[in-house]
């Protein structure tokens, strides 16, 4: 089968070099995209790693807000939110919820009274199959303005350099408002007494397609009963979990969901800056907590309360946090599910913990 047009294998190296260059070049671009040449990139691994206490993370647990207790109940929508967002959840009706009261600590065994920030994770499911997940906390503003500053704060707070926090606070004056709240706000006696805030801004889209920047809060319906400072240390390690379990066993506990609409020009990309008090606020419904279950075998353990899981009618804004939270929460979820054998489940089917 002679083929006069096909030259025999040529000795020229040029085509080989070209092929090799194409392959190595593509591999290098791939590695660059993966961030292997960008050690300064703020990755979810960095954030999750910086959250770990000096002794290392609690295996099998969320990497932050590691201590928590599950609840189930309903969201009773009063229909008033339908004017702001076309999401089904704002149509008048009752929608099932799964949630989690939690403490802002990477340590699942932290005594309740030692943790400053308290949180509430919530998942509301509507009949159209959509979900709204949100994770809120009780401070009125966030300590830092960007995910990069959050990482710097975590790094400074863990630093062995005694001046690290001073340096951080000096470089980030916006931290002062959170610092003032943290040092002066009372510790309430119950999760039921807490106000939980989205802090991050999101966009609501109404039926006509109009977009509005909003933040939301769950307002307690129970009068706050601050614990006197000198009695804090006397509280049982799990007093908040015991209290809410006993309270809900006697009857449902509720919060009212308030949606605050930004005025043009209000800061939506900076959760350290509260919006003025006079902003339009709509009460859109009531969260009714009907049942408390320990996290171990409860329905909230398996949920990643990723704040970017939103129904059609809500989307993220120019606030940089929800994307960073989503990325870091996902990493935390991947880690803890891979470590599931370390988590002390009590279900008989659970595999025994290995050393």
């Amino acid at each position: 089968m002679p083929d006069p047009h096909t030259p025999p294998a040529r000795s020229s190296l040029a085509p080989l070099v070209l092929i090799l260059a194409v392959i190595l070049g593509a591999a290098a671009v791939f590695a660059y995209t993966a961030g292997w040449f960008s050690p300064q990139r703020l990755t979810p691994d960095k954030i999750v790693g910086a959250l770990a206490p000096p002794t290392g993370p609690a295996l099998g647990y969320r990497r932050n807000h590691a201590k928590g207790i599950c609840f189930t109940g309903v969201f009773e929508s009063n229909g008033a939110g339908a004017e702001l967002s076309r999401a089904h959840v704002f149509m008048r009706g009752q929608y099932p919820v799964v949630g989690r009261f939690n403490l802002g600590t990477p340590n699942p065994d932290a005594p309740d009274a030692t943790v400053r920030v308290r949180g509430l994770g919530l998942q509301i499911t509507t009949p159209d199959g959509q979900e709204w997940r949100t994770a809120m906390i009780d401070p009125p503003i966030f300590p830092v303005a960007t995910p990069e500053h959050f990482y710097a704060l975590l790094t400074a707070s863990k630093s062995k350099d005694p001046n690290a926090m001073k340096t951080f606070v000096a470089a980030h004056p916006e931290f002062a408002a959170f610092g003032a709240w943290a040092s002066s706000a009372p510790f309430n006696a119950s999760y039921a007494e807490e106000r939980f805030n989205s802090l991050n801004s999101f966009i609501f889209i109404d039926a006509a397609g109009t977009e509005r920047a909003v933040r939301w809060s769950l307002l307690p319906t129970v009068q706050p009963m601050p614990i006197p400072h000198d009695e804090l240390a006397k509280q049982a390690p799990d007093f908040l979990e015991q209290e809410i379990t006993e309270r809900v066993a006697k009857g449902p506990v509720s919060w009212n969901l308030h949606v605050t609409v930004a005025n043009p020009g209000d800061p939506t990309n900076d959760p350290t800056r509260a919006w003025p008090e006079d902003r339009r606020t709509v009460e859109v419904g009531t969260l009714v907590v009907q049942r408390i279950e320990p996290e171990r075998d409860g329905p909230c353990r398996e949920i990643n309360f990723d704040p970017t899981v939103l129904p059609s009618g809500i989307h993220t804004s120019d606030d940089p946090f929800p994307a960073a939270r989503s990325s870091a929460y996902r990493r935390s979820y991947d880690l803890r599910t891979a470590e599931a054998r370390y988590y002390p489940r009590t279900a008989p089917s659970a595999p025994s913990a290995k050393p």
């Binding site: 030259p7 979810p44 990643n304």
Partner: protein, 194 residues
């Protein structure tokens, strides 16, 4: 000899090049997004999921088209080992194209994440939440992604070797006839079978 056996059919060529772009985009977006905490992270994930299901649909169509039309035979003078490598690598490419989206879908399902395409279409979960299965599918997705990319590099290297060194017409089977005729008047096999 049927002319379609000299080249892949135009439909096969179209599917090949469209999917080449999609799969490369998938791999680059995937490896980039998992190391990002920037606002673009959400957009990248959403594109990755939508494009992944698109690749699955295209790959199934392509498999059907391949079974219907077949492929041009490899040159008779290609060493047996090289032919085997070509066949195995093409089987693997099909397996990866079809399994990667399914593994991703299973990975999201077992983590109880909603699966939303193009911002509005919701796919059902194909499995229920499971820590163990999520971990298994996540690791499989990552491992196969790197194997897939390595295989694509090999595939590109082999294609360029056929085009630049062996010049045996194999590369031309995947480019439209007009262009190949212009750039490569000396298509080995066409001469052989004329």
């Amino acid at each position: 000899m049927n002319v379609y056996q000299q080249r892949f059919t135009p439909l096969q060529q179209l599917l090949h090049w469209v999917m080449a772009a999609c799969v490369l985009a998938m791999l680059f977006i995937g490896v980039g997004m998992v190391s990002s905490t920037e606002p673009k992270y959400l957009r990248l994930i959403s594109i990755h999921v939508s494009l992944g299901i698109t690749v699955l649909v295209l790959a199934l169509i392509r498999l059907a088209v391949r079974l219907r039309y077949g492929a041009p035979p490899l040159p008779a003078d290609m060493p047996a080992g090289m032919k085997t490598a070509a066949r195995v690598s093409h089987y693997l490419l099909y397996i990866f194209m079809i399994s990667m989206p399914l593994v991703g879908w299973a990975m999201l399902s077992t983590a109880d994440y909603p699966i939303v395409l193009f911002g509005s279409v919701r796919l059902p979960a194909i499995l229920s939440q499971s820590d163990g299965l999520h971990t298994f599918f996540l690791r499989l997705h990552i491992t196969v992604a790197f194997l897939f990319f390595a295989l694509i590099l090999l595939h590109v290297g082999a294609a360029l070797m056929h085009a630049l060194i062996r010049r045996d017409g194999v590369f031309q089977t995947m480019v439209p006839a007009g262009r190949a005729a212009r750039s490569h008047a000396s298509d080995g096999r066409r001469v052989e079978r004329a």
